[in-house]
Structures are given as C-alpha cells and as structure tokens.
Symmetry: C2
Subunit: 362 residues, 2 copies
C-alpha cells in the first residue's frame, strides 16, 4: 500500500505479467475477448488487467485448448495481467440446471444441456490450464434474499471449498489464489467469514455475494465493514460492481478492485457513460448533434466522431457503433479510476464523489 | 500515367483529399463505415480511398444531414479521398420496386416502401451534398442476359442521362464526375458508348454493367477492349469487381480502379483471402491450428492471432472475429495491389498472375 486517505487506498499488485495499480477497474473478457474490442484498443485505453470467465472458457473453447495455445494470454493476444473468476457465480445462476452438494456443483451447460461437475479441485485445475495471474476460489454465491440460516450454512460450505482450493493450489507459484468472503448482508457472518479466511492467509480477498439485488445501503455497509476487517496489506476485490458512483463510494470504503460488464454491455445497446451522466446515443434527439459523446474525454471515439455519427451507426446496425461506444465507456471507466487515484493521493476523494453524485445519483 | 507494361499501367489521381496511386482497390463503406472497421484501421491497412453508396446514404442518414455535418469525410472521420457511386446500380436492383422512365427512376425504399425519384440532376445534387472527391454519373445498369436491342436502347438512355449529369455538375470544381460506359457484352455497343463519352470529355471512365452474371471470358474481353479504346491519360474504373485473380487479370487489361464488398462480406461470414487461396477460418478443422491466417501477411490479425483464436471467436459469435477477419482481408487486397504496382514497374505482372492463378483459379 502506497497511500491511505480515510479508508481509501492506493496500492500496487505485482503479477507475472506486470504491475497493477489499485484502485483498478477490470474490463470483462468473458469468452477470451472484451466484447467488440481488440487487445490493442484495451492497451490504448490503459487497461492494466482484464477478467476472463472460467465457466464460459471451460465450455468454449475448452481449457485444454487454451492450455495447448500456451494459456489465455497467448490465445487471445493479451500480454498484461488477467484474472479469472471461478465459475461459481455462473453455475449458481443456472437455476433449474444445477445441483449443489458438499462435493461441488453438478450443472447442465446452457449451450447444449450436457452435464458437468465443478468441484473446488476441478475449478483450480481448469484455472491452472487457463493460466491467469490471479485466480478465484470456488464459492457458493447465495441468492438475495435468503434466510440467515441459509447464508450461514452456505458460508460454511464456501469455507470448506476454500480449504480444498488452497490444497489444490499448493505449490502454484505462477498464480495467486484469492479467497471470496461471503455472508450475505449479515455483519456478524461477514466478519466471521473474513476472519476465518484471513487466518488461512491469502494474497487477496474478494467480497462476493453483493450486487445480487440487495439494497445499495446494504452493499455499502458491508464494503465499509470489510474495509475495516480485511488486512490492509492485501488487495480487496468487489466482484461484479458497478456504476461509476458505485466504484467511487466503494473505493472510499477501502475496495481496490472491480469488474463489471456494465460499460461494455450498455455500450453495445447504445448507452454510454460520460462525465455528465449516462447518454443514450442511439436516441433520435442526437440525430443532428455534432458534439462528441463527452467533451471532457480524449478517447479515439470522442476525438474523431460525433453523437450524430454514432446515432447513425446504431440506427443502421453497423458494428462500428458498438465498437466506438464500447471503446468510449471502457476509456471512461479507466479514466475515472485514474482520477480517483489522484484524488486519493491529494486527499480529495470526497470532492470527486460529490461531482459524480450530481451526474449519477439515482 | 507513370508507367505502362503491356496494357497495365501505373498512375496517379490527384483529388482535394490527396493523391491516389493506381491501380487501386477501394474498400466499400456503404453506410458511412467500412463494415466492422475504423478509419484508423483503414489507414493502417494503407487504404488510399474508400467508396460510399449514394442510395444507402440518401436513405440513412440522408444527404442533407451529411451536408450539415460538413460532408461525408467529416461525418465519418475519414480525411482521405472518397468516391460515391450514383445509386444507379442499387435502384435498378430493386426489381418490382422501381420504374425506369426517360426522366429517371422512381423507386420504393427497401426499408419502408416509401416512394422516391432519382434523376440525373437529383443524383448529382445528392452527391454534391455528400461531398466525395469522385462522383459517378447516373446510368442504367441493364441485367444479364438482355437482348442487344434492349442493351442498345439502355445505352442511349445512359448517354442522355450522362449529358444531364454533366450539365448539372457544371462549375463543380471540388468533385470529379466520372462517366460509366455501358453496352453489355456487345463489343460494337461498348465501342460506340465509349467513343461518345470520350467526346464529351470526362476526368475518368468507369466500365459498368459487368460482374452481373455474365461469363468471366466476356468480362475479360470487354475490359481488354476498353483498355484499348479508353484514353490512356484518364483513370478506368471497373465497378463491383472482384476476386484477387479478377483484379490481376483486369489490371493486365488496363483497368486502374476497383471496388468490391467481397473481402469484407466474406470475412464477416468467416472466410478470408490469403496468399494460398481462400480460408474458411470458422471451420472446425482450425480448432487447434495455432498458425496465423496467412504466414506471408503482416497485418495486425496475422501478427497477433491464430486461426484457432479466430475460429473460436466465430464459434462464440464474438464481433472481434468479424473485425480481425475483415481487417486481414482488406489488408490482403491492398497488399496485393501494392505487389501489382511493383510487378508493373518491373514488367513482371504475368509472373504474379501465374502465382495467384495457382491459388485462386476456379
């Protein structure tokens, strides 16, 4: 850790593929590509690390193929750090198509209905083949809402699986295994889970089971709590979050790492993030608007193209529209994080938050 | 003209947006974008000029909007030369939805069935709004096969429309109007049409009405004829052609300019052009093929990605697959043309043709 300002922190994570500065936003590259974007564009957007999804990569093209290709970095032409999730969240989401036991999760592929089994050991093996720099433990991500009894039992299962992941990953010097704290919106369970995981000693800790439908104030209360409980010298990763304001407020609570499909998914549907809030660029009102998406942005899209042009591209279903919108929104998220780092260094994060609250308060 | 080798030529066209070296291949940017590619990528592929389609641009976003944006160059962020076709070919293709009279063509939009009228004067007016460097005359492109009587009458109509285009374009210093020679596969009509047009004096001449289903030997006979009839000091443009071998053989006949959707359309469907022939990269046989698309190619795709990766991207319907394949095939076409220029300079075009005949002879 380089600097603290309140609970917010500036840090650095060293991986085999280079250094990651935190706070960090990780663009999501589900199927070995950040949708619509090239590795070159991600680098030009100053992306330092991207995320891959183990569930999707396991099904297509298959982890063994990726291993043959020399790992995911080689396969997709990305030479900076990668983090893979464990597939836990995805298989839990296959409601009706999966069965959870103490052993693991038996599930049917959403593609062809074929049967598969994910266990902690299997998930570590798959992630070893994929070869990301940071790999995630296999956890149960319970739904919201759920009873405290269910959450407590689920947490015990996650702790048991974590031990098995740790054993399966023993001796793996190339990949750092992060634990995932569960416990729903129950402070005592979260503290218990975090403390047990800290005792097991991991290079990083994720906060799982949030952004699953709970009220925002519960999310912020839990991340604030985790910001006080988790060790200061280890990165903290809030999975699947969120809007620009979510990032800012959680960074203030002490979170270091984020991933979210929001900037790219919205962009493909014609909505981008700007310093003045969301902008639905495919809307007819931009037909003759010859301004850039965001006058404060220096991305390729904003330097060369207008809202009118992007609106036209969406109107005629041209792929370049999705590309330029995605490029802008990824650049916006990464640039936001860079502003946050400066704000933490200068102890002015609250001013930055106030600025974004105006544009993004819901 | 800089150099002649047989009927093949090296030349140079000077436009308000820069010099075009000929022979030249023009990537097709139908709706103000070369599908899936950015202007930056086109420049990196060394594209010197692109083509826009008047019919499509007139319908969406509308030529008046493009004019308000400062012309097509500004609108789409492309600062090199542009050529627009006249929309003649597109409206003729709307069989059942169009009616040809001496005045012009009344047609229904393929989008919403609304009625529109294209006349020579109207088409020049639209192309002035769009603002391309080279604009095309409004012609009738007759179908194949057609009787000699029909072709002769159609040719007269095209000549009449050409006069009206020329009058409508008088005083337009910023845009060069090219005539389009018609006459089907009838040598005497082609000669008559060309001679009448030459007498009217245009800065360039296109060969229209080919690549509409006639046997290849008819196409080559007509372009060879035109190579001997059309003035040596003016560019000759064969519209809508073709395969790599089509380009080579027509260049040998004296053609200077080409446009074709083939490289980009095929690429989006997973088939690319290589120095060893076509390659269906989405095919299962490339699943574990870790070679580049074309070992002789230095495009971004071939430098960083494998057939296995592209096959995966097509398999999971990722847009990056269409992008990387399109980028490669455009680069391949432009690189081919660059090889052709060298071959003409060194009087070795036939050797290059023999090399490509092996890979591409059908």
């Amino acid at each position: 850790m380089i600097k603290e300002s309140g609970q917010a922190r500036i840090g650095r994570i060293i991986t085999p593929h280079g250094v990651i500065n935190t706070p960090i936003f990780m663009p999501v590259g589900t199927s070995a590509t950040v949708k619509t974007l090239s590795p070159l564009e991600l680098k030009e957007s100053q992306a330092e690390i991207i995320l891959g999804n183990t569930y999707h990569l396991y099904l297509r093209p298959g982890h063994k193929l990726i291993e043959k290709a020399g790992g995911l970095h080689n396969f997709m032409g990305w030479d900076r750090p990668i983090l893979t999730d464990s597939g836990g969240f995805q298989v839990m989401s296959l409601s009706g198509l999966r069965k959870i036991t103490k052993e693991g999760v038996r599930f049917q592929s959403h593609l062809d209905g074929s049967y598969h089994m994910f266990t902690p050991e299997r998930v570590i093996e798959i992630q070893k083949s994929i070869g990301a720099d940071i790999i995630m433990a296999f956890d149960e991500c319970p739904p919201y809402p759920a009873t405290k009894t269910y959450i407590a039992e689920s947490m015990e299962l996650t702790l048991d699986w974590l031990k098995r992941c740790q054993i399966a990953n023993e001796g793996n010097e190339a990949q750092s295994l992060f634990a995932i704290v569960q416990g729903g919106i129950f402070d005592d369970l979260r503290i218990e889970c975090a403390e047990k995981m800290i005792e097991m000693d991991f290079p990083g800790y994720a906060i799982g089971g949030l952004a699953v439908g709970e009220p925002k104030e519960d999310m912020f209360r839990i991340t604030d709590l985790m910001g006080r409980v988790l060790p200061k010298n280890k990165p903290r990763y809030l999975m699947g979050v969120g809007t620009p304001l979510d990032l800012l407020l959680n960074i203030a609570n002490g979170v270091d790492m984020f991933d979210c499909v929001m900037p790219t998914r919205n962009a493909r549907k014609g909505t981008v993030f700007t310093s003045n809030g969301k902008l639905v660029v495919k809307a007819a009102k931009y037909k003759e608007d010859f301004q850039p998406l965001d006058a404060n942005c220096d991305c390729y899209t904003c330097r060369y193209f207008t809202r009118a042009y992007l609106r036209h591209l969406f109107n005629v279903n041209e792929i370049l529209g999705m590309r330029l919108a995605s490029l802008h929104s990824i650049h916006f998220y990464i640039n936001l994080i860079q502003q946050v780092r400066t704000a933490i260094m200068t102890d002015s994060l609250n001013e930055l938050i106030d600025k974004f609250k105006e544009a993004y308060e819901q």
